[in-house]
Symmetry: C3
Subunit: 326 residues, 3 copies
C-alpha cells in the first residue's frame, strides 16, 4: 500500500473519510491492535446476523474480487468466493497461474497491476514469504493476503480468534491449548500473536522436536502472556477452554518409529475428551487426517466445522471494510 492508493480513481464512491479501512491491505496479524480486532469481529458478527436473517444482500453489488491463487487452496479460495458472492459481488477466479502466461516470467507486481485494472480488490495466495507485501506495494487497490508460504495467513488467524469469541462470548481470561506441530505451523503462530492482544493463558503440547519456536515464546512473554509447555495433553486438558488441534506430519520425524511412538498422544476422541470441561471447544484449521476421530464430530464441543463458517463471516467483513462499505 502506497500513498497512491488515496488518489485511486476507480473506486467511484470516495467514502474513505467515514470508512477507516477503505483501500487498506490485510497483510499480517501484526498490523492489528485490539481495537482493530473488536471492529473486525463486530462487522463479522453483523454479517452472521444478516446471512441468518436475510440470506444475502447487495452491499458489494458491482464490485469485483480477483481471487489470485498461485497454489491451490480449495478451502480458502471457496471461502473468499462465497464471501464476495454473499455480498452481491462478483469474482474473477484465477487458479491456473502455473499454466498461464501470467506465470511465464511475468513479475508479481505486473500481474497485480494488470488485475487491478479489472477488479476492485485482490486476494492473493502465493508460495513465497513476503509476496503479499510486494503485491500490496505495487497495487493501488487493496490486497488481502490469503497465505504467503510459511509467512502469514492473517484471515485464518482472524477467523480462529473470531470463532473463540463467538463460541465462548469473550477471549480475555481463557486458557488456550495449542496441540500438535507447533514448530512449523504458521496457523498457530499467527493465532498466538493475535491472542497476545488479550489476557489469555497459552499451553503448548507437542513432541519435543516440534516445540513452539523460542523466539516466538520470547516475543509473547514480553507481552505478558503466560505460557507453559507440555509433551502430553493430560496435564492441561482439564483447564483448557479452547483446544486447538493441528496435524503432526510423519515427514517431520527422523524415522517411522519415532513418529509411531508419539502420534497416539495427539489424537482426539471421545475417550480423551472425557477429561475436558463440558463448556469448552475443540478447533482445527482443517483438513484433518486422523487427528480428530470423526465420531467426536457430533459432540457440541466440536467447533471445527462452525469455525469454517465463522471464516465466511470474517472474510465478508474484511471485503466490505477494504471496499469502504462497512
Amino acid at each position: 500500500m502506497t500513498i497512491q492508493k488515496h488518489t485511486m480513481t476507480h473506486l467511484p464512491l470516495g467514502d474513505h473519510k467515514t470508512a477507516p479501512w477503505y483501500g487498506k491491505d490485510i497483510l499480517s496479524v501484526k498490523q492489528f491492535d485490539r481495537l482493530d480486532l473488536e471492529y473486525i469481529f463486530g462487522v463479522a458478527h453483523e454479517m452472521h446476523d444478516m446471512v441468518d436473517h436475510i440470506g444475502t444482500f447487495d452491499l458489494l453489488k458491482g464490485k469485483i474480487l480477483a481471487n489470485l491463487f498461485y497454489e491451490p487452496s480449495t478451502r480458502t479460495s471457496s471461502s473468499f468466493t462465497a464471501a464476495m458472492e454473499r455480498l452481491g459481488g462478483s469474482v474473477i477466479p484465477i487458479n491456473e497461474v502455473k499454466y498461464s502466461s501470467v506465470a511465464k516470467g511475468e513479475s508479481l507486481p505486473d500481474t497485480v497491476r494488470t488485475l487491478e485494472c479489472y477488479a476492485d480488490v485482490i486476494v492473493l495466495r502465493h508460495p513465497e514469504v513476503g509476496s503479499a507485501a510486494i503485491a500490496a506495494k505495487a497495487a493501488r487497490k487493496p490486497v488481502i493476503n490469503a497465505g504467503d508460504g510459511i509467512g502469514e495467513h492473517p484471515t485464518q488467524a482472524l477467523l480462529d480468534a473470531f470463532t473463540i469469541r463467538e463460541e465462548l462470548g469473550h477471549i480475555d481470561g481463557l486458557t488456550v491449548t495449542l496441540l500438535g506441530d507447533l514448530k512449523h505451523g504458521r496457523t498457530v503462530h499467527s493465532l498466538a500473536r493475535l491472542l497476545s492482544l488479550y489476557k489469555v493463558k497459552l499451553n503448548y503440547v507437542s513432541p519435543d522436536i516440534l516445540r513452539m519456536p523460542a523466539e516466538l515464546m520470547d516475543e509473547l512473554s514480553q507481552k505478558g502472556v503466560e505460557q507453559t509447555e507440555y509433551t502430553t495433553l493430560d496435564a492441561c486438558l482439564p483447564e483448557t477452554d479452547v483446544l486447538y488441534v493441528t496435524r503432526v506430519q510423519k515427514e517431520r520425524f527422523a524415522d517411522e518409529a519415532a513418529y509411531e511412538s508419539v502420534k497416539g498422544a495427539y489424537v482426539i476422541n471421545a475417550e480423551v475428551m472425557k477429561a475436558a470441561k463440558q463448556r469448552m471447544i475443540v478447533m482445527h484449521p482443517l483438513p484433518r487426517v486422523g487427528e480428530i476421530d470423526p465420531a467426536f464430530d457430533e459432540d457440541p464441543r466440536a467447533a471445527y466445522f462452525r469455525q469454517m463458517e465463522y471464516g465466511l463471516y470474517v472474510r465478508m467483513a474484511l471485503l466490505a471494510m477494504v471496499l469502504g462499505k462497512a
Copy 2:
C-alpha cells in the same frame, strides 16, 4: 440426507411446508415415482417458458451453489453453472480437486461439511459409486448427484425423459429404441428405469457382447415393460418414436477386427434414417464421436442439441426445488 436437515438453520426462509422438495437430495432415479417426474417436468417446462419470455429472473438471488467436480465434466459442470446463474444465483466452481488440499487425504464428508458452510446446495461429480449418498448423509444442505462413477447420473436421465415429453408431447405409448453399448452405460440404464414408470415399449439394439444386463431386463419385466433385443437397427427403426444413440467404444472388443465388423451397424446418417418415421426424434447424451453423421444435424428429428438445452431447464427446476423456491 438425515433428519438433521429439517433443523438446519442456514436456509433462512423456512418454506418447507409449502415446498415439498425443500432440502431434499437428488441421488438416484430410483427415488422418483411418476408423480415426482410430472412435478419436475412441470417446473422445468415453466423454466423453459421463463427463459424464452423473460430471459432471466432472480428466483435464487443470493443463493450459492458449490459445484464440486472430482473429475472433469465440462458439459455437466457448465449446465449446472448456467442453471444457477439463469436463476440469479452464484456458483463456487471447484474443478481442481485433484491438486488441492481438499483432495490431500481429506474425507469426502469433511469436504462436504466444509463447503456447506459457504454454499446453499452442493452438486457433486465423483468417480466412485455411492459417493453422492455418502456426501448427502454428511451434509445438512441438499446434495445433487451429478454422476458417481458407473453408479447414477440422475439429472441426465431426467433431462432425457423431459426431452421426450417436450418433443413428442407425452411418454406413454411410445416405442423407445436404445442403440449401442447397452452393457456399460449408466445413461441408458437410468433412462430405462425412469421410462418404466410410463407405458413404453423398449427396443435394445447392440452388439452381442454389449447387450443390456439381464438383471436390469428382469427388473423392468417385473414392472410390465415390453422389451425386445436386436443386433441390428433395421427391424425396429420403422416403429421407433425415440432413437437413443450411445457410443460403441473400440476398447470394449477383444480385437480390432471384431470392432470393425460391427461398428457400421451403429452409425446414424440420412440414409439410415430414411427408414424412420417423419415424426420421431434421435437423441444422444453427447459427446459423439462418429456415431451420428453431422450432416444429419439439420434434420428436424435430430434432437440431441435441443436435449442439451432441456438439460438446462431440468437443472434449473431441481435447484429451485431443493432450495424451496419452486
Copy 3:
C-alpha cells in the same frame, strides 16, 4: 455466423433492428471499417465513463458468457470475465478443456453448439488458426475470437487502437513506431491493419531477421500508409507519438551470440526515453520480460497498464453490442 442467427429463438429481446451489431460475431480486424471502429470506440468510451461514475450497472443482467479457453490466457480470460461482470452478467468459466470430455474427440462445432444451449455469447481462445470462424459458423449465438493461434486476436488490436485514441485524443496524423519482433507477432500485424484505416505514419524497428512481413507491408502500402523500416530506435524515436514495444525472444535467433548482439537495442528505459517527446505514449501488450525497465513505469508516458484497463472497456462494449444492448 449463418443466416440462422437471425431466427434464433433464445435471445428473448429482438432488438436487432435498432442494434446493428446484435447477434454478430467478432472474428477478425478485417471485418471492421472506420465507421465500425468509431462506433466501438464510442461505446467503449461510454463504458469507461459509466465505470468511473457509477461503478457498475445491469446492462447485461441475466446474460451469460461462456468463456471457452482451449489454452490458458489469464489476462484475456480475466478481462472478459470482468467485462461481463461489470455489466451485471454472469460467466461460465471453461479453462480445463484439455482434461475434459469436451476435448476427448468432440468436434469444436459440437462443443460450441452445446455451450450455446447454456450461454448467450461465446468467447473462444483456441490454438488453431481459423477455429473462431469454424465456431461462429456452427453457432447461432455470437462468437468473439479471443485469439486463434497465430491467426487473429481482434479484441487486442481494438483495445490497442482505443488506447491511442483515448490517450492522445485522435489517431489521424500520428506517427506510430512498432518495436521488436515484427515478424511473428499477430498483435502488431492486427494493429497495423486497424491503423491503416486512419492516416498514420508507421515506423518499424526490428532486428533484420524479425522484420515486418513483406506481404503485409505491400497490403498496407496499397492503402496509402507511409512505412519506414529501421534496425535501431534512435532515428525515429524523436518523431514518435506511439511507441509499441514487443518482446524479442531469444529462441528466434540462430545462436545466443546473435541474440546478445541485438537485444540491448530493444530495451526501453528512462535514458532511452530522454530522446522522445514529452507528449507521447509507450504501449506493450504485456506480459513484459525485460523489454521495459520497471523504473520507467512511473513516467506519465508509460501507458501499458492503462492499456489493460482500456481493454476492459472495449470488451464491455463488444459484449453489450453483440447482445443487442448498446
